[in-house]
């Protein structure tokens, strides 16, 4: 048992598992390039409500979610909502094809190496992080089903109503 425990500990040290980002915590300082090569920084949106959506073209629910997030973004951008799509396709062309089919107006950044999903320790694909005006995570949305939308929209609306 002791040996087993030591081994487990050694393995843990060898590959430090990123800790999942939870409600009430500050998210990792996401920085990544968009299609135009501009750096998008999560911290630049402090004061706004940010929804960070990790997605990939190969993931069905991710694709299903994109038009919904676009709709929500269009509806509430004026009230201070920002959506940032973080694409984790290893091939940019796959992402481009998916976006051509379902265009979005919110910024999409690319992380083909998957380093930010690692930092956030995503529980699922897709995962969305709702970050309040104070920069603190309000809600972690793992997976996507169309039935999830009313509850998610209510949480976004609540976050928009909070003072920074």
């Amino acid at each position: 048992m002791v040996k087993a425990g030591m081994l487990a500990a050694a393995l843990l040290l060898a590959t430090p598992a990123a800790l999942a980002v939870n409600v009430g915590e500050a998210p990792p300082p996401l920085v990544a390039q968009d299609a135009a090569g501009n750096w998008q920084r999560l911290q630049d949106y402090r004061g706004k409500v940010v929804y960070v959506d990790f997605w990939a073209s190969w993931c069905g629910p991710c694709r299903e979610a994109m038009p919904q997030y676009e709709r929500i973004y269009q509806a509430w951008a004026a009230r201070g909502l920002v959506v940032i799509g973080v694409n984790v396709d290893s091939d940019r062309a796959d992402a481009a094809r998916a976006l051509k089919r379902r265009p979005v107006s919110f910024p999409v950044v690319y992380d083909p190496a998957g380093s930010w999903p690692e930092r956030f320790a995503l529980p699922a694909m897709p995962t969305g992080y709702l970050i309040g005006r104070d920069g603190i995570v309000r809600h972690v949305h793992a997976g996507f089903r169309s039935g999830d939308l009313p509850a998610l929209e209510a949480l976004i609306e609540k976050a928009l109503g909070e003072k920074p």
Partner: protein
């Protein structure tokens, strides 16, 4: 303690028949397949008349539509086939004792319509699918139903699946020149159970293992076929029950360096008619630029004979069984196919050809006397997929 998550895999049915890029779960998708199937003529050396006989020709049309409706997904499958040509009627020895076919004559002409519906929905913690189907020919009618469940364990990279199906079939053979004394009507039923697990080995490899059990009850003989016993013919007669087990394993491995996926499928089959069979198929799915894809594949099959089978009989068996159906004979078969597809925005097209040859010499164990009715065929398919 593993997180058991259900997946939308069953509900989504989003699987593009021809690999359309980026199909989302909420899209309606339709597929159509046309196939032309042609068996090679039976040569004169293998018929009692000494003349070559044209065998089966089949035109098949298959339609599929999948409609997601919220958490539910509805699917429909329609198959329409027309068959014509001759089929081995019985086998008898020629003057040297070599088995030769007596063919049915080109009297067979039939069509088949098959309609299947599927309803898929989440039933926590499972994803479930229910199916109901009806198939009709001039001389055959079948009603079938089934339920399948899937359970995903993402933490361990495992997906469990299981299913239960039942088919109730009615045979109403037609009386004709090649079937003057055929039975009026009979029935049979088939129960199918399967269970299996798929496991993710690494980012590029996944394997699946399955066990399948089938139990047939009722009239399992072929109403149109005869067997030759010491100079006269009797009706094809088989046991009224059959149980079979199939163990199968599948591997899918992606080779990033070639941008290709290799598929290996193996199945071992055994039934209580004492047939043992092995099936091995290897396919190479090569992805090419501009959404083109080319897939060459090879398949090998081998089976041993049913315990009551003989090409012909000198004397009746004590149990009364008799069948000279080539499908119960010992043989092997090889097939090679090539498939090409191209995906566009909302449309995908595909075409393929398969050559299949059954022969005693391909069998795992040496076959003393091969059935003269073994088939060689060519089939051509064209497919189209469209999403709305």
């Amino acid at each position: 303690m593993a997180a058991i998550k259900n997946s939308k895999a069953l509900a989504a049915l989003t699987h593009a028949a021809l690999a359309l890029p980026g199909v989302a779960a909420a899209e309606v998708q339709t597929d159509y397949l046309y196939s032309f199937y042609q068996e090679k003529d039976t040569p004169g050396s293998q018929t009692s008349s000494g003349q070559s006989v044209e065998r089966y020709q089949i035109h098949s049309h298959m339609f599929r539509a999948v409609m997601p409706m919220g958490e539910n997904t509805l699917g429909a499958n329609l198959t329409y086939e027309t068959m014509s040509g001759a089929s081995p009627w019985w086998v008898q020895p020629d003057t040297n004792g070599k088995p030769v076919n007596v063919m049915s004559g080109a009297s067979i002409r039939d069509e088949r319509v098959d309609l299947q519906g599927t309803w898929s929905l989440p039933i926590e913690p499972f994803q479930a699918a229910f199916s109901l189907g009806y198939s009709a020919e001039d001389d055959y009618e079948a009603l079938n139903g089934g339920a399948e469940l899937e359970l995903r364990d993402d933490e361990r990279g495992l997906t469990w699946t299981g299913g239960l199906g039942y088919s109730d079939d009615q045979l109403k053979p037609e009386h004709g020149t090649s079937s003057p004394n055929v039975i009026d009507s009979e029935s049979k039923s088939t129960l199918t159970l399967y269970g299996g697990a798929a496991m993710v080995l690494n980012a590029a490899t996944v394997v699946q293992a399955n066990i399948n059990y089938q139990r047939g009850d009722g009239f399992l003989s072929d109403p149109y076929k005869l067997a030759w016993i010491g100079g006269s013919t009797v009706a094809d007669s088989r046991p009224d029950g059959r149980q079979s087990w199939a163990l199968s394993g599948k591997l899918r491995h992606h080779l990033a360096s070639s941008n290709a996926a290799i598929h290996v499928d193996y199945r071992y089959f055994h039934d209580d008619w004492e047939i043992d069979a092995h099936t091995l198929e290897v396919a190479w799915h090569q992805v090419l630029p501009d959404q083109w894809r080319i897939t060459p594949a090879l398949r090998w099959y081998s089976q041993s004979q049913a315990f009551f089978y003989a090409p012909y009989y000198q004397a009746a068996r004590s149990d009364g069984f008799a069948s000279s159906d080539y499908r119960l004979s010992p043989y092997g078969a090889v097939s090679a196919r090539l498939d090409v597809s191209k995906a566009l925005e909302n449309l995908a097209l595909g075409a393929g050809v398969e050559w299949y040859d059954a022969d005693g010499s391909y069998a795992l164990k040496s076959v003393d006397v091969a059935n003269p009715g073994l088939v060689e065929y060519l089939s051509f398919q064209a497919r189209i997929t469209y999403r709305f």
